[in-house]
Symmetry: C2
Subunit: 327 residues, 2 copies
Amino acid sequence: MQVLILGAAGMVGRKLTERLVGEGRVGDKPVTRLLLHDVVEPTAPQGAPFEVATLTSDFSQAGEAEKLVASRPDMIFHLAAIVSGEAEADFDKGYRINLDGTRFLFDAIRLIGDGYCPRVVFTSSIAVFGAPFPEAIGDEFFLTPLTSYGAQKAIGELLLADYTRRGFFDGVGIRLPTICVRPGKPNKAASGFFSGIIREPLSGQEAVLPVPEDVRHSHASPRSAVGFLLHAASLDGERLGARRNLTMPSVSVTVAEQIESLRRIAGDRVAARIRREPDPTIMRIVEGWPRRFDASRAESLGFKAEKSFDDIIRIHIEDELGGRFEA
Amino acid sequence: MQVLILGAAGMVGRKLTERLVGEGRVGDKPVTRLLLHDVVEPTAPQGAPFEVATLTSDFSQAGEAEKLVASRPDMIFHLAAIVSGEAEADFDKGYRINLDGTRFLFDAIRLIGDGYCPRVVFTSSIAVFGAPFPEAIGDEFFLTPLTSYGAQKAIGELLLADYTRRGFFDGVGIRLPTICVRPGKPNKAASGFFSGIIREPLSGQEAVLPVPEDVRHSHASPRSAVGFLLHAASLDGERLGARRNLTMPSVSVTVAEQIESLRRIAGDRVAARIRREPDPTIMRIVEGWPRRFDASRAESLGFKAEKSFDDIIRIHIEDELGGRFEA
């Protein structure tokens, strides 16, 4: 099967590529060709057991989406997005990429016609939800985004479901929880500290905790995120019916529980590298975020996240640190 | 205040115009000018106590939405839409008018800037919901449209909420229930019989009932629909917070209860003008429709529908038949 990844240069896109190269297949279907797309040149992986091509363009420009699907990929992972902070800061850019780009892609697929009906896996986000929430957000809770990014993702979900219902493609939307532990440098995202307070101490660095320890949030590892994508890719669409968008499973923990996990796995000295420095702005933003999900539907469809935050830390140490950390 | 109505030539648009002409005000603010817009020439009302202008155009064409808001109306009623059946039959046209048109309008308002922030009242629809449903659909039930029209209305709701949150305008979206009794000729809408089995018998005509009598559905009169619009127009936006889209109240009845009301008000001879002629296609469509709403939020905000189906019939006789019917 031919696979296309939009947003291939991002963290999840790179890990998905790596996994496809390692496994050579999606479900029981061998990959014959992989097309990597992003607005910056994606890195072509070495040693892939299939042909790899890269393409760099802005898919929200007229005519670009058509080029992406001209070879009729069987499987399309649409991970491309302007992230939350940028979509809030630049209204036009957020709508252009996250709404128009997505619609151009979907229309380019639709207009091929001729029986072409690929599986499209779309990464949505828990940003489609906005406070006030029930204690756990269930599968039938309404979408009430409080950011432009969340609104754009919710619109993407509606388009995905409608285009699927009309038979233009076979879509699955997955709402990713906060990915933790994100590898790499600290970034300026308001959610960055959830990863930072684990990643930095394990590398011998100090991390800042800007919120109280009773803040609760939901997480899944980058490894799980890739697992969600691959499971969505090979899922029997019939099992989804008309409701094509799913909240992914996650581990709901307080910051205190995160720190307790870190102490359990890496010891007191590592956990002591977290410095409390309350930041009222971040506290206010985080207050509007979901705390817990009841992702029963996705779980019954076989999507799997970690069972504990300990697992999430262990996976970070295995996948990013070669099994070692700075004690 | 200056008022703009998009979709002014439709049934609800005409009744809203009539009511504005009669009352001369929206809430406690006198209307100074009314601009009526539609894709076909709207009829300018006679004897209005304010200036009336009409404008005919396709607002989904580049540059047209800008003309509509160039005079900076304080109050915008956006009722324009391709209806359900047509949006399903013509995919491109439905998205062009219901999504692009709506977005062009919202962007035209946004791009005026300069402190311009009108109230925008947008008519959404219960088509944003799709089966399976709970027994009563509450205010936090998720939007799962099963038609392109429903998807386009749900997207309009998301845009309305986001543009409002960003301060580009002050929006209120109202999900209209099935309007009953629709005046005029029978039409080919699958929901047409809900009005037809009341309207035709009261005019001495036979009506066809294509579904079993235990079918349950929710209704409000055209008079209530106009009432919803005017209440939304003068509602304090602060009371809505971030959740700007509301399911309107309605009367939930079975077809048997509709017929019982008709018999009570107009007698056995009138009720006997209904001919049962089951239509499997219409039965299947109607099965996917909501039966009942719990519109607590709208009710607590002061939106009012009829209390009984008897009231709905009486209003039809008063407003459309001059108080008389064919016994």
